[in-house]
């Protein structure tokens, strides 16, 4: 018995909770097509008025960085402290900058 023969593809769901905010990943679901995925996302993830907009993306279409790359991708940013405003000491007379 092949379990996945007819399994609908997996979709990742992103919901904008209100205008002015970005879409945020909320979970996933299965659907046969994109329209069904949006409809299902509406019923599954916004039953309590959690959303004003929905994105669905087929999980297999997402390219992700791998955890093994974490060091090379993200550690080099560690010593770039000059990118952060707190790196710069200003005289107290400058109140807001």
């Amino acid at each position: 018995m092949s379990a996945s023969k007819n399994e609908w593809p997996l979709w990742e769901v992103f919901v904008r909770s209100r205008q002015g905010l970005s879409h945020k990943h909320v979970g996933s679901l299965h659907a046969a097509d994109a329209t069904m995925a949006v409809n299902n996302a509406r019923d599954v993830y916004t039953r309590r008025q959690e959303g004003t907009s929905i994105w669905v993306v087929k999980a297999e279409d997402i390219t992700a960085s791998t955890p093994a790359e974490k060091d090379i991708l993200f550690d080099p940013a560690n010593d770039k402290v000059y990118r952060h405003p707190t790196f710069y000491d200003l005289p107290d007379e400058v109140k807001n900058m």
Partner: protein
Amino acid sequence: MTQEMDLNQRFEDYIAADQKIEAKDWMPDAYRKTLIRQISQHAHSEIIGMQPEGNWITRAPSLKRKSILLAKVQDEAGHGLYLYSAAETLGITRDEMLDALHTGKAKYSSIFNYPTLTWADMGAVGWLVDGAAIMNQVPLCKCSYGPYARAMVRVCKEESFHQRQGFQVMLNLSNGTAEQKAMAQDALNRWWWPSLMMFGPNDASSKHSEQSMRWKIKRFSNDELRQRFVDMTVPQAELLGLSVPDPALKWNEETGHYDFGPIDWSEFEQVISGNGPCNRERIAHRVNAHNEGAWVREAAAAHAAKVAARADQQTHAA
């Protein structure tokens, strides 16, 4: 080998530092297996748990109660779905999990193998069973595996109305006619002990507990949570004017907790091994829904393939 040791060290460091483990991070095989087992069991419990309450949707005694109950059972479907999704991040498909459920390889909370005989059971299930479930679930919001923890945050947020509506059903029955009050007492009598069993075996005989605690999948022991549940629920029963069916139950000044009588673990074992009142029906109902839906799932997949092929053709023709 050394690389694996490095990875394992890093994993242990993460756990020790209360950092979350995410889907693609390296994790020990046993951790992955434990999570798959626990999250899928949890999902199955939500899905099977739809049945005992679903049993009363068409007979709910007012349109308001019907709406509430339908919304609640629908939430359970949603919770099952969130949890299947979380488990899928660990490299198992929903179909594989459902297959394990349908063939009896996977377990689910044995409480759902008890029948819901009267409307009062909708009260007792919400009040006691959801109450016990929340007790178990709130700590899971902090569990070490990110996708599970996030799913549980959502579940717990939505569950908060479930227990309240159950208590309200009980309250209305307790304040109602003599027949209604008897109905409520009868439901409490039937659901009390199974609810205590929901926390699992005593700590001394729980085979998965210790490792899960170390991995921060589990945060409190079975007995701790059970005691907390009893302490919270007994005063609520008093408020309802109902009596808890345990002659040994009494407040202990010294410990600051309620003492309660011994749990009949032989009943628990019976139900868990498939001999509860409704085990067969619950699984048969699930299998039936799945099989009856096969042609529908197939058709939708076939239609999607057709539409994609047509779009392809158009692109090539253009």
